[in-house]
Point group: C2
């Protein structure tokens, strides 16, 4: 992709360039209100050579935008803390809210090319990384985000000149880091590496825009032209993502809920013995996964009053409290609603060596949000694949991913609701909404069945936990966790 | 404080100890629902010697609590990233929501004693640190938090024995770090340092509880006894903070708003020249403060339509977008409402070398929250002092703190409201709430006057920006920023 730019001449800007820039600036200013009305989130990624002027051009681009409506993030090499999360974590973290801009000064392209050149990313891992990037960009675009990717191209000679000038200035020398200097010395190698990564991530839904940044004014005009054109198109056609071929995930066969036998029980004696044994094993495994830095993500879903809380408690009782976190998922707050639905789950991921237990999960998208109409049909239908992709990211990162559906029948739920209602200390656990949801049991059952069929992947399979006998359920879930951790730590 | 414990014998637990522990456990389980009903946030700080059993005792304490209602944070030495924020930042970050528990495994006591022993904290700085801690604890307590501080005491002999055992185990050796080993070797010095810091932070509102942790079972009983008694007291008496002597801050005299002359203007020519000059100076200063790692906090308050947005824009136009952030403050979301009102401002602080501009600020507490009854009279009256303390923390940290009140008269506001209403592109800027607020002008003016009188401290003075002529206002604000930064960078 870059080659064309090298061979093209850099024409001096014509006399009309100034007025064209003014027109584009006015156009951007005029688009802001429509962006706000359409609640369009805009993510602008600036990549390019060291010294190409990313910071300066971002500074120009934001001049027309009210400071309350954008944020700029500089994304240098990840910190030690960030390296303990999946690669995409820090990018997912900073995606804009609806009707806001985010500008990134370098991002996933730079991080990937750099890691590759430092020898940290080779072969299959490199290929997987490129696929992660494409998935991430597609998910954002499909979720209504406008993603504008700009690569600033300068020649070897120009880069040398600029870095030399920066390094020479007392107040600017700190801007040239070791990597910039290395890049300048190995321009050809870097050129090839950039070119390859640009090609591999140049998709129909998130294409690269190469900007000739050799001369400052024309580069500014090019950036404004790109921004205004991209915004215009997005406003005219949004939601603009057509049908996109989805990744195929090998799925495990799952039974229908109605075929799950719920008569499994344990005696008190069996329960006490098994619970003690499994908890001891789990405590031991927790220590080992901490040392081996294996992250663990466990999701609980199930009917109201199925016994999720008690089940989680038996699990956490065996864990060192400094090494796990339970995240209860309620309906999203405004700042969560204003972003991609997976955002709040990305943010809550454990660091390596830690366990995060989600009490309800991202599967709300294909259950409550589907049935209550909180998202469009297109949204929840697309979500099965997006969720499989999300969980694949976690598995690729090295995480153990476990998902439990805690199952009871309708009569058992009624008995438990009634008991809660009649017991003063338990009354807070039951709300009108629980009764309302119960009325939609059949619709939920259908949605749950579809979810289990479509998202039980090899990397992140569903486990149905029969919970009419809560003791049986606790021991079963614990056993699955222990077995999965043992396998991962082998 | 510790001395008494050393001399006291460690009696073997009596036969009734087991049943006492069971009773306390049942008591804690029973308290949870009342904590929920009272929306009482509980912060439990475990401090003590390395090897004293903080982790184990936290593990015991949470056994009675539903995992959705507590979080445990391990607080090791601060990371490089955390060191770029004020000392209290990472603690303010993790305070619990209303009706939730947070357990801290080590905290501000350990960090302070350790820094002192490493020679990083001496003389006045050490004294200031202790005062920060006391202020923090008082603010939380006054804000309705129950803060329980526990120090686990063990003898030199016992510590040696425990660390030796840990270091010898294949799966436990990693738990003993260099500091633990150092502590064991310098037990006497550490004893004195702990003792002094405990004394200095042992206040009526947040007293220390020293727990003899020499024997495991009695220590567990002691912790349960402390927790249940403290919770019982808090539930019975909350809000339990009586009158507390407040810190005195030297204040700058401020005029009443009615006495501020609003006829100041600039010609277009003066404006263009001054703006250009000041922005160039500011850009230069931004570079220097980045290198010298000086943090800057700028707060904007003012009447609706006073011109805050345009004023901020002239400021940010001169800044490198990678080095500042504008934080618009709207009404708090549920997760913000559920915590101390200063929490969301603490979280948004810049790191050293960066600038954060707040578009509306923590002063909402003594304006809109006061006038709309969103907090009690006691709350907002206490807030003047709490805010002065907050800003003192920032100044002590080395930050430049600037506060602007953007002032117009009532007629000017009407003219601007009307213009907004009549201009289609500006209509989104005006809401019914703006008109409603306008009706309360006099009450607001009184509140603003009181605020200006009570919070214009030497470290963080208020600046009134006359903004009937917006150009004059922009140049004045810019000039104040430039001057303050020049002073700080000298």
């Amino acid at each position: 992709m870059l080659q064309e730019f090298v061979s093209s001449p850099h024409p001096a800007p014509g006399p009309e360039a100034g007025s064209r820039l003014s027109r584009r600036k006015a156009q951007l200013a005029g688009q802001l209100q429509r962006i706000k009305a359409a609640r369009l989130p805009v993510l602008v990624l600036f990549e390019g050579w060291g010294g190409a002027g990313k910071g300066r051009l971002i500074g120009r681009a934001i001049q027309q935008i009210d400071p309350r409506f954008f944020k700029v993030y500089s994304m240098p090499a990840p910190t030690a803390e960030e390296r303990r999360k999946p690669f995409l974590w820090r990018y997912f973290n900073v995606i804009p809210e609806a009707d806001k801009f985010v500008f990134l000064d370098s991002g996933w392209l730079d991080e990937t090319v750099r890691a590759r050149q430092e020898g940290d990313l080779e072969g299959e891992e490199y290929a997987a990384r490129l696929e992660s990037i494409n998935t991430f960009e597609r998910q954002l675009t499909a979720g209504g985000y406008l993603l504008i990717k700009i690569f600033l191209q300068i020649s070897r000679k120009e880069q040398k000149r600029r870095l030399g000038k920066l390094a020479g200035g007392k107040d600017t020398a700190w801007r040239v880091d070791g990597y910039d200097a290395w890049q300048a010395k190995h321009y050809k190698t870097c050129f090839a590496a950039f070119d390859e990564a640009l090609e591999a991530t140049n998709t129909a839904y998130a294409p690269w825009h190469i900007v000739d940044a050799e001369q400052k004014k024309p580069a500014e005009l090019a950036v404004y032209t790109l921004l205004t054109d991209a915004i215009e198109t997005a406003l005219a056609t949004r939601p603009g993502l057509g049908l996109i071929a989805q990744r195929q995930f090998p799925l495990r066969p799952m039974p229908l809920l109605e075929d799950v036998a719920l008569d499994k029980t344990l005696t008190d004696k069996e329960y006490d013995a098994r619970l003690k044994e499994l908890q001891a094993q789990l405590g031991e495994l927790h220590n080992r996964l901490y040392r081996k830095k294996v992250p663990v993500v466990i999701g609980y879903e199930g009917w109201d009053a199925a016994g999720k809380g008690g089940n989680i408690k038996r699990l956490t009782a065996a864990l060192d409290p400094r090494g796990y976190e339970v995240i209860p998922i309620a309906s999203p707050e405004p700042h969560e609603l204003a972003r991609h639905y997976l955002w709040r789950f990305w943010r809550a991921l454990p660091k390596t060596g830690h366990i995060t237990i989600f009490d309800r999960t991202w599967y709300g998208r294909v259950m409550v949000e589907r049935l209550e109409g909180f998202c469009s049909e297109e949204d929840w239908k697309r979500a099965y694949n997006e969720i499989n992709e999300f969980e694949k990211e976690l598995a690729d990162w090295g995480a153990v991913v476990l998902k439990f559906w805690v199952q009871i029948d309708k009569d058992t739920q009624l008995a438990r609701f009634t008991e809660r209602q009649n017991t003063p200390e338990k009354r807070w656990k039951i709300t009108k909404e629980d009764w309302r949801n119960r009325e939609k049991w059949d619709a939920y059952e259908q949605a749950v069945n579809e979810m289990l069929q479509k998202t039980s992947t090899v990397n992140a399979p569903w486990h149905i936990i029969e919970s009419v006998d809560k003791k049986y359920a606790r021991v079963k879930a614990l056993g699955i966790v222990v077995e999965a951790l043992e396998r991962a730590l082998k």
